[in-house]
Structure formats: structure tokens, C-alpha cells
């Protein structure tokens, strides 16, 4: 970055948001209360697929302190639709409350509104529904048979959409390759599961016709856009506010029916309406993720060099296409990124997004990349075994090298820069690979099951206009907006269209603004999460906020600084280009006496307009947007190294060590980067070992509490080792790359490899599905024993 010399960029600055959060002074949606607020409780379907024959709300309505009970027809004018532009896409319409039919167990059918939460919950028990159960499309096994009725009437088959692509040379390369290996891989359905569930409070001002929705969202402006469609109300009549949010990870990046329902109920009843999701509802009705099945064939030569790749990808997207992503997101991402960090020249892929009677499927940290990484890395390990080569060596032979950039992937992506072989070496180094090998030898000598696994990946981040145009989504998430305003006391407010729910953006954006304006971090206040603050923007998802909002803050702050320069130049009769800004002052370079404090200058601008040069207006404010080049993303890369030990009696896998070497370009704040990596890795370890939504045969979710859906606890996690590489992107402001999701991408692949490696002391098995629950590990161990005995 040119401009004032950076003082805070790159520093381990303590977070500015911590004070309020540590003192219990954060404001989360569940904490928001307005006078006269009513409480809502939703009555949800127990049946995945059924006709609603009858319902009775009279008893509930008769309860004291119950204000209203709404059912499907009351809100039938509104619905959530998100239609992809892909050819052959079959659309769905999600009702706000089920009308005549249920399409997943957990779907809201009625909304009870009462004076308080306890009453609403009691009254909800008195709402009764009679259904005629239909045979559900319970999952991918059912859609592949194609003998069930589709979830939506008028559909042909069960696919939202199926797409294929192949490079021209694929057939020939595949046909002439000396060897091939095919693997079939499964990732279980699971979810983001933030510690704070969803919540919203809606109010409607009759006088102005203004809706105000407080909601736990990562994407306030997009929620406004979705509400505008669903309610048929102009955006100028909707304000969406998302205050402190207790983690999102993607599950809070979709419009949900409850948000629409609370708005409608608030208008109908003339009182604020509040809903706070409970944990069971979160499991059954918040969006799910990660459920992929891949069949992947690698074609390679004697050295294990991958010549061509073939894949068939199936994703169970649940019952409805979600706003704003549509139901094509996971499948499209997997198709694009599957070749990953390797020099794959020829590629053929088919991807299908299926519709089933399960909860809708939304974003979760990494979107499809964990499954894609699992597939390609499991394939690499198989190729290594096939060639009798070392797993690290086989990767080195195939990785994209430092001189290969820009790399045009076989799927049409352009990787801008990276350090793949170096990150692999670095991970082996910080992870103590040689020591691990010695530990493994010692463990094996004692008959213990000790394994080492590794995974390498490249992560598409900060993708903008061109990428989302290609993805066929109705809204192209191309840019973010920042507004910078200096006040008369020389402090600044930075407003941004992104949202911070733990990523530390309140701090990193303040670091950037402080540097550009020559102020200290205490002089900067960062605000976000209110559609009234900036014009438009998409929000926080897809590892983009530091890059895009960071770039927008640079542009807006520089514009404001330019006005300051003009005013200072006028005052000192100097040229604006000779004015330097820093340490709270503007000075004429080379004239030690000619200096004025920024605060003093700001006061002059606003309060003494006569001191302004001709043509300069008395305002120190600028709004700018930033759409990072080249629009198809900039690429972060990393390598992960894990070691595990398996208990042969219980099948339980313990992660002993976990090392990450990550290259996300220049880091604004390394401490925050590490926090993001560690948090992502922990979620990835959850993916690898524990997390799975288990259903009964009728597609009803069985895992609905933290006692049967396990997320990692402190004792499940090792200490992490981390190393950084910093290869700047040639395209973005400051060379920044995104990194918020990366940690979650590789642990499934690395830990599966480690478990397989541990079992290899007994026999050769292929670990082909996640999570690695004790039952599955025991089954593989038995298989390994049989296989080992047979040799």
C-alpha cells in the first residue's frame, strides 16, 4: 500500500471489541427488548413429508395472554424463492408457515404469539395438527433409485440441477494413462452450530410504514433485499440491524422464514414480536451443510503424476433452495475446486444438487471445500499406495509450483499466487514430522495404533463479481462498501457493509483506518450490521471481509485524507502533494514548523467554513466500494499435519498433534489470523471425528441436543502449532487474501489419513467416510485385521 507508513498493519493489536464482550456489555439479539414486546413460538412438523389434513388452534388461542396464532394461510402471500440461472434448474417456493403440506421434519406450521415466552411455549403445546404421512425422499439413497415422488409437485426427478463439464483432452488423457484408481467418499450431513442460536425481533411503525428487524445475521443488506421480495415492500421501508452475533460460520447467512414471520406478525399485531430459537429448533430447523458423496477417479503415470481427474458429485440439499445462494452453491464449489492444489490438466465432472425431505442446506465455513479436499487428498494417498511412494513425495510431484502462477485450473479457475510446496515443507517442519515418525516407530513397537496424516489445499477467497456471475445466483455478491467520516473532534467513524461476529473485523478495519488517517486506534469507531449505515453490500461470508471491506476502508479513508490535505495545503500555502499525514498531524514535508493537529483541522472544516479553500465542501466523509480484482478470487494455501492414536478397544481416535502452515498473504493482525485458523481447525476436527446429523428411516432428525450431537470440547483438542507464509496477491489492495474458512477445510482429510496410517500397522484399509466415529473405526480395524491375517 502506498500512503502513510503503516504503524498498525501487521501488528498484534489487542481487539477493540473485547472490552464490552468481556464485561457482559455486548448486545446480542436475544438481549434486545422494546416496550410491549411479544414472544413468538413456532409449532413444527414432526413429519418429514405429509399432507396436513387438519389443524386446531382454538385451544391455544383461548389461553390467557395469547395474542394470536398464525398458520400457513395467514402468511400465504409471502414465500422465499431463490432461483438459479443455470439451465434446467427446478425452483422451489418455501412457505413462511407450511401450507397444506410439510417437506421436512422441523418445518414451521404455526406461530403462537403471547405476552411472554413461557406462555407462548405452553400455548404451542395446544396447537394440534393431523397429518397424512407420505413416503419421504429420505436422502441420497432414495434419489438415486428415482422411484419416489419428488418433493415438489411438477418436478421431473429429484435434482434441483445437474451440470457437467469436461476439458477437450480428457478422454484421450484418461484413455492413455497407465494407471487408474477410483474412490467413493462420503461426508455426513452436519452443521455450523454456533453457540448462539438464531433470534429476531421485528417491529413495525404504522406512522412511517417502516419495518425494523433485529436479527442474528451475517448479511444484513441481503436480508433486507430478501425481505423486500418476500414482503413486497420497498427497501427504503425496511431497516435490518444485526448487532453482536454469537458466531455464524454460514448458518446465519441465509434468509429464514422466521424472520419474515416476525415482520408479518409485528405488522398484524402492532407490537414488537421477538423469537429466540431454542437449541432443538436450531438442530432441526436451521440450515444444515456438508452432506456430499463423491466418486472420483484419478488417471496417473508410473511416477504417480496425475494426468486426468474424473468426478461425480452428489449433494443432498434438503427441501428448499435457500436465499441468497440458491441450492447450487455446494455442488458448484465442489466441481470447481476439486482439482485443488494439483497440476491437473484434464478434468471431467458431473455434479447434482438433489432435493430431499430434509432441512434446507445452507453455507458452512468452507462450503464444499472440506468435501473436495477430502476427496482429492484421499485419492492422493491411494495413488501413493498404488505406486508404493511416500505420501509427501507424491504430493510434491503433483503440486502447483511457484513458477506456475497464474495457474489456470482445469475447472476454469485462475489461481493468482501461492506457496504450495513451501507450505508443505513448513507444515512438516512445525509439525515435527521427523519426531512424529520416531514416535510412531516407538508406538508400533509397543503395538499401539499411532498414525500421521497430511493434507494440502488451496482456498478460493474474496471471489467477487465474475465468480458469482458465473454461479448463476440472482444477486451478484461483487463488492463491499465502507464509509469513513471524520468528526469535528478529529475522531473517525468507519461504517461497513460487512458484519463481525467474532472475526475481529472491528479491530482490523480500525487498524487500517488508523494507519490511513494518521490517527491512533482509540480515535476510530467501527460500526456495521445496520442497513441504514451504508448503501449496499453483501456481508460476511466466503473469506472476503478483510480483503473487500479492508480495501473499501483504504479507498474511503484516502478520499477523506485527501480533503484534509487540501485544507492543510491551503492553510500553509503549500501543495497538497507536500502534505504528510501521520501521528495525529498534517505537516508540510521539509518545513518543520508547518504542522497542524488533525483534530484542529477537522474543527476548522466543520466550524470555520471560511478557512476552506475554494471548491472544498465542509464535509469529511466518503463512501467507497471495493470489488477485488480479478473477480474470480485470490488464493490462500495451506498444509496441515496431524498425528492421532486410536484406542483399539473403543475405536476412539485422539488427536495428538496438529500443525498448520498457512499462507494468506500479508496479515493485518497475526493474532487474529491465528484465532481464525484455530477455530476453523477445531470445527474441521469436529467434521473429522464427531459431527453427524443422524436420521430415522422417516427422515426425522435424532441428534437434537449436545448430548447426541457432539461438538469438540477442550479436551478433544490438542494445542496447535502454526507457521505463516506471506505471499501477497498481485491483485488486491495491500496484497490481502482471505483466510476465515481455511482452517476448517483440511482436518477431515488429514485426520482420515492419519487414522488410515495408524490402521496400516494392522492391515490395508481405505478410510472413505466422515466422521470417524468409534464404531466406524472399529469396523475398519476389524477389516484391517482380516486383511492383515490374509497376507
Amino acid at each position: 500500500m502506498s500512503g502513510p507508513s503503516p504503524r498498525l498493519f501487521g501488528a498484534r493489536v489487542p481487539r477493540v471489541e473485547d472490552g464490552r464482550l468481556l464485561k457482559g456489555q455486548g448486545r446480542f439479539v436475544a438481549d434486545v427488548d422494546f416496550p410491549g414486546t411479544l414472544s413468538a413460538k413456532f409449532v413444527r412438523s414432526d413429519e418429514a413429508s405429509s399432507d396436513i389434513c387438519d389443524f386446531d388452534v382454538k385451544e391455544a388461542l383461548a389461553c390467557e395472554k395469547v395474542r394470536a396464532v398464525f398458520t400457513g394461510d395467514d402468511f400465504a402471500g409471502a414465500e422465499i424463492r431463490c432461483v438459479s440461472a443455470y439451465e434446467g434448474f427446478q425452483p422451489s417456493a418455501q412457505p413462511i408457515l407450511a401450507v397444506g403440506r410439510t417437506r421436512y421434519a422441523g418445518e414451521a406450521m404455526a406461530m403462537v404469539v403471547a405476552d411472554d415466552e413461557y406462555t407462548a411455549e405452553d400455548a404451542a403445546e395446544h396447537v394440534t395438527f393431523a397429518y397424512r404421512p407420505l413416503e419421504p425422499v429420505a436422502g441420497l439413497d432414495d434419489v438415486l433409485g428415482e422411484d419416489r415422488e419428488p418433493v415438489h409437485s411438477g418436478w421431473v426427478g429429484h435434482a434441483f440441477v445437474r451440470r457437467s463439464m469436461a476439458t477437450d483432452g480428457f478422454e484421450e488423457a484418461a484413455g492413455s494413462a497407465a494407471h487408474r484408481v477410483t474412490v467413493e467418499l462420503r461426508n455426513a450431513r452436519h452443521g455450523a452450530i454456533p453457540m448462539e442460536g438464531r433470534a429476531c425481533v421485528a417491529r413495525y411503525d404504522q406512522g412511517s410504514g417502516l419495518f425494523e428487524l433485529w436479527t442474528t445475521t451475517q448479511i444484513p443488506h441481503l436480508i433486507r433485499a430478501g425481505l423486500s421480495d418476500a414482503l413486497g415492500v420497498a427497501e427504503s421501508r425496511i431497516r435490518v440491524i444485526s448487532p453482536d452475533v454469537g458466531g455464524g460460520f454460514g448458518v446465519k447467512a441465509q434468509l429464514y422464514p422466521e424472520e419474515v414471520a416476525c415482520c408479518l406478525a409485528a405488522r398484524e399485531l402492532g407490537r414488537p414480536v421477538k423469537w429466540v430459537e431454542d437449541r432443538r429448533e436450531h438442530f432441526i430447523a436451521s440450515h444444515h451443510s456438508r452432506e456430499h458423496r463423491h466418486r472420483v477417479t484419478g488417471y496417473f503415470d508410473d511416477d504417480g503424476i496425475l494426468l486426468a481427474l474424473e468426478a461425480d458429485i452428489a449433494v443432498d440439499m434438503g427441501a428448499y433452495s435457500v436465499f441468497p445462494w440458491t441450492s447450487t452453491m455446494d455442488c458448484g464449489m465442489a466441481m470447481g475446486i476439486l482439482p485443488g492444489p494439483y497440476r491437473v490438466a484434464e478434468y471431467s465432472v458431473t455434479g447434482t444438487a438433489y432435493c430431499t425431505n430434509k432441512a434446507p442446506y445452507g453455507a458452512y465455513r468452507g462450503v464444499a471445500r472440506p468435501a473436495a479436499c477430502f476427496s482429492i487428498e484421499r485419492l492422493m494417498d491411494r495413488i501413493a499406495r498404488h505406486r508404493g511412494a511416500d505420501r509427501t513425495e507424491i504430493r510434491r510431484r503433483n503440486l502447483i509450483g511457484p513458477d506456475d502462477y497464474p495457474w489456470h485450473s482445469a475447472s476454469g479457475l485462475v489461481y493468482d499466487s501461492g506457496s504450495l510446496p513451501e507450505s508443505l515443507d513448513k507444515a512438516l517442519e512445525v509439525g515435527g514430522h521427523n519426531r512424529l515418525l520416531a514416535d510412531q516407530a516407538a508406538a508400533r513397537a509397543e503395538g499401539r495404533l499411532f498414525g500421521i496424516g497430511l493434507a494440502v489445499f488451496t482456498e478460493q477467497t474474496a471471489h467477487t463479481t465474475r465468480e458469482f456471475q458465473q454461479r448463476g445466483v440472482p444477486i451478484v455478491f461483487g463488492y463491499e462498501t465502507a464509509k469513513v467520516r471524520l468528526d469535528a473532534t478529529g475522531t473517525a467513524v468507519v461504517s461497513a457493509s460487512i458484519h463481525d461476529h467474532g472475526q475481529g473485523l472491528e479491530t482490523t478495519l480500525a487498524q487500517i483506518a488508523a494507519d490511513r488517517l494518521g490517527l491512533s486506534i482509540e480515535d476510530i469507531r467501527v460500526e456495521y450490521g445496520d442497513t441504514d449505515q451504508v448503501a449496499y453490500g453483501a456481508g460476511t461470508f466466503a473469506s472476503r471481509s478483510a480483503v473487500l471491506a479492508g480495501g473499501a476502508v483504504v479507498k474511503a479513508a484516502d478520499a477523506v485524507a485527501e480533503t484534509l490535505r487540501q485544507v492543510a495545503a491551503h492553510r500553509f500555502e503549500a501543495s497538497p502533494t507536500d502534505i504528510v499525514i501521520g501521528q495525529g498531524c498534517l505537516s508540510v514535508s521539509g518545513s518543520p514548523g508547518a504542522s497542524i493537529e488533525i483534530a484542529e483541522l477537522c474543527r476548522l472544516v466543520y466550524q470555520r467554513p471560511e478557512s476552506l479553500p475554494r471548491g472544498v465542501e465542509p464535509i469529511l466523509e466518503a463512501s467507497r466500494t471495493y470489488d477485488a480484482d480479478p473477480g474470480t478470487g485470490v488464493y490462500t494455501n495451506a498444509a496441515h499435519l496431524a498425528s492421532v492414536e486410536i484406542d483399539p478397544l473403543t475405536g476412539k481416535t485422539k488427536v495428538l498433534s496438529y500443525a498448520i502452515a498457512e499462507d494468506c498473504g500479508p496479515m493485518i493482525n497475526p493474532t487474529i489470523v491465528e484465532g481464525q485458523i484455530f477455530g476453523g481447525v477445531a470445527q474441521g476436527i469436529g467434521t473429522a471425528l464427531f459431527e453427524e446429523f443422524v436420521y430415522d428411516d422417516e427422515a426425522r432428525l435424532l441428534t437434537t441436543t449436545f448430548s447426541d450431537y457432539l461438538i469438540p470440547t477442550m479436551t478433544d483438542m490438542p494445542d496447535f502449532e502454526v507457521a505463516h507464509l506471506e505471499t501477497p496477491s498481485p491483485h488486491t489492495i495491500g496484497g490481502l487474501k482471505g483466510m476465515g474458512e481455511g482452517g476448517a477445510i483440511a482436518p477431515g482429510a488429514a485426520i482420515a489419513a492419519a487414522v488410515e496410517d495408524a490402521l496400516s500397522a494392522v492391515g490395508d484399509v481405505f478410510v472413505d467416510q466422515l466422521p470417524l466415529t468409534p464404531e466406524r473405526v472399529l469396523a475398519w480395524l476389524n477389516q484391517a485385521r482380516i486383511q492383515g491375517d490374509g497376507q
Binding site: P14, R15, E17, D18, G19, L21, L22, K23, G24, Q25, G26, R27, F28, A30, D31, D33, E117, Y118, A192, I193, P194, M195, E196, G197, D244, V245, G246, G247, F249, D278, R279, H501, G502, Q503, G504, T671, I672, E674, G675, I677, F678, G679, G680, V681, A682, Q683, T705, F706, S707, I711, P712, T713, M714, T715, M717, D719, F720, G743
Partner: protein, 159 residues
Amino acid sequence: MVEIAVEVNGRAETAEVDGRMLLSDFLRGVLGLTGTHVGCEHGYCGSCTVLVDGASARSCLMLAAQANGSSVRTVEGLADGEELSSIQQAFKDCHGLQCGFCTPGLLMTVTEIAAEVASTPSRHQIREQLAGNLCRCTGYHQIVDAVEQALDQAAGGGR
């Protein structure tokens, strides 16, 4: 309805509450102490942890009426005005929080441990003692850093 008298963060409070009202709802809804967070209402996540007569308790599993006659401490009672407690400061120093939702529960649990700690525990012991507090953001590493720093201080730097 039940009449209760509770001392909360050093202040005497009296209220008439529904017999079934949870302590978490009483603190949040009646007293406006929204720093105590509710993450599951099942007793698993630990977000709602408060100290009742000095011992950690899950306020989602306790009735307000059960706290009658007790002294309750919540996250709002930790800092001395603007000044963070040494445990809060350690969380800030070590980046022991991200979204901050689980944080109040962790701070209360650590406050209880710090009151009794004689020597700095190992990282493994810290993990065992805090395994009942779930965090989805941090991956725990930096929380363990923070607790190590805080307990080291509480134990007078002794090991």
C-alpha cells in the same frame, strides 16, 4: 408466584417471580443482566454459568426461586468499573474470545477455579477443568493461553 431475595453482584434484589422461572431468565429478563448467555438450556454448553455462593452453577438448570437467600455473581460483577479483572484481562491479552458468546460462562468458571488455585495447572489440567464450557469459535488454544496466564497470576506465579 414466589417472593425471592437474592444478592446479585453485591446488590440486594427482591422480586416476585413465577415458580418455574429459570435463574437465567430472571437474571436476563427481570434484572436486565444480559451478559449471562443461554446457548442450549439443557445444561451442556456452560454459556449460562454464574457463581451461586461462590460455586459455579448453570443458570439454565436452576430456578430463580432456588437462588432465594443466595449471593449470585455474574459477568457484570467481575470488572472494577472500567478496570478488567485479571482473568478478563488475560482473555483480552491472549485473544481468548472471538464472538464472546461463550465468554461470560468461561470467565465465571475460571473465576471459581482461580479462587482456589494454589499452583499453576498444566495446560492439560486446564482443559480438563474447562471441558464443560463449549466454545465454537476459538478452537480453545488461545483460551487455554488466557487461563494459563490468569491462573499463573492467581497462584502468585508459583508452579
